[in-house]
Point group: C2
């Protein structure tokens, strides 16, 4: 049995989507056990309306929620009865609890991971690694996407190693093609951080380093993992998301602007849905925090039930396939 | 009369598009004079096929072209008979020549600007400022988009000042809303560079600083100028471009995959072209290098004739509206 703690609060549609996602996980994954942390007064009626194996669900009441606008470290330290603090407290003290999934404040989740969970021995800094769909129907990981805005080359080298293990253990990508995000593909390109990191990656035998990648190639399907500092990773992730969403909105608006185009829109509706579905982050789980002593996953604040389920499945797969142990072994050999 | 030097070579479709763009400029702008630098053997027959006021065109023969794969500084220094080197040599020595437009190697163009043209007094580093269309039909500038990968906060402050003047003088945006590219909107967000830059921008009276901007808001129309270091600006620009182009390609492929959707595609074709046209960088000129002693504009390597024309028009507008003088005056007051 793999025990996973789920923060019931903190997302835009919490706790409704969290409950539905948890129920789907219990029904679909036969050896998962969930601890749901949140306001029991809200959770009980929602759970009563669902059918699932109650023996594999535990509820821990938490009366407060950490807000996205609160100072992360202070919130984790002071808001003791918040769902996130209580979830982390359980993760820290209960040996059986192996992972924590939350849609709440990214900053607080990161602060909690550092303060309450700690790192795998040898890991310099944990890093977020979200997954994006590529234009050829595959996926690409971005590591780090925002946990560390000021980075050292050695940290980026570790992101490459842990990210490669993640792509292998969680998604079955056997020999992940690792690229360094840069302003050009030539070896000598970039700032001081990139030049030093390139040298390190070139000389890291445990990864399949394929060189620099320009930002416009992110969705090309040519790369499985993109390594970057958390600042530029965040820019890469959010500008890609922003451009795709903006363009889809523009298309929709444009197609509704005449009778002829409305008719056309009707005929291509299914294809548009296919693309929207393919691009929907709800289908790709959350951003895992790589390098922490226990598994931590950040789901998108706007997640639907499917995304919550995918985050739980992701945590389950990582644990079932021994990702943390693999990272620990790699760190010992380094 | 405003005299502008145009590099006839160096783009993917040079010199054909350069010649057509130059002819359009001479025909549309009555007081522009063009010096076209490139292989006369190729240029003469192309020009003979066009109708324009020949008195406003001069050709300077250059037998070589600087390649995108050459080392920039060495290429500018050693390839004396290349169109770019000769163009810069004229810009440097001829008082009447006010601007240089090229579709060639970005690195070489930047090296040439530094080595041959120099900076306006007080400018710490010239910066590229390309323009993107926003989802509401306006435009947004990104400064710096790649000239300076390692940056100092004071440089970013200057990018904000010169970029604001550019948006005003070249595009008539009276009070440009300036944002700092960051990983979140709150004042305390970001790395050391962002925190220091935020303080500086807040205390720069000559700009309209509206705070931090997340990458996903780039095309929202809420901002007129985004200030960033050249590394993250490059990521921002290229990932936006890559996502938009990738998505359009995916849509096209998807719509061609069934009879029904093909019919639908036919009905929305005009709307799709409208959007493609709106997003087409050919209509927005090139990336100006702000802060150089004479105007330098980098057009996209894949530019068509329209883009070459827009680059020339952009150079013309900047000169006609006294952008360089305005920057010099601002630097004197700083």
């Amino acid at each position: 049995m793999i025990k996973i703690i789920v923060d019931a609060m903190g997302g835009d549609r919490s706790p409704v989507v969290n409950v539905k996602g948890v129920v789907k996980a219990i029904n679909n994954i036969k050896d998962v056990k969930i601890v749901l942390v949140g306001d029991a007064n809200q959770l009980t009626p929602l759970l009563n309306a669902e059918k699932f194996d109650g023996a594999r669900l535990e509820i821990i009441h938490a009366s407060e929620v950490i807000d996205c606008n609160e100072k992360p470290t202070e919130a984790i330290k002071n808001k003791k009865d918040s769902s996130m603090s209580k979830g982390y407290e359980l993760l820290r003290t209960d040996d059986e609890s192996r992972a924590f999934v939350s849609l709440g404040s990214t900053g607080a989740l990161l602060a909690g991971a550092v303060l309450r969970v700690g790192r795998i021995k040898g890991i310099k800094r944990p890093a977020f690694c979200p997954i994006l769909p590529t234009m050829d129907g595959k996926i690409v990981g971005i590591c780090d996407s925002g946990a560390n805005v000021d980075c050292d080359p050695l940290w980026l080298q570790q992101f490459a190693v842990t990210g490669s293990l993640y792509m292998r253990k969680a998604y079955g990508v056997q020999c992940p093609r690792v690229a360094l995000l840069n302003v050009g593909t030539e070896e000598e390109k970039g700032d001081a951080l990139r030049k030093q990191t390139y040298e390190l990656l070139k000389n890291t035998p445990s990864i399949n380093f394929v060189g620099n990648m320009e930002a416009r190639e992110l969705l090309s399907g040519e790369y499985d993992l993109v390594v970057c500092d958390g600042f530029s990773g965040n820019i890469l992730l959010k500008s890609t998301e922003g451009a795709c969403m903006g363009l889809m909105k523009l298309l929709k608006k444009s197609m509704m602007s005449s009778f002829k185009s409305k008719l056309g829109a009707l005929l291509i509706k299914n294809k548009m849905y296919e693309i929207k579905d393919m691009m929907d982050y709800n289908n790709y789980g959350g951003a895992v925090l790589l390098g922490t002593a226990k598994t931590v996953i950040k789901g998108h604040g706007a997640s639907k039930a499917e995304a919550v389920y995918q985050c739980i499945k992701q945590a389950y797969d990582m644990e079932a396939n021994g990702l943390r142990e693999a990272i620990a072994a790699e760190m010992e050999n380094a």
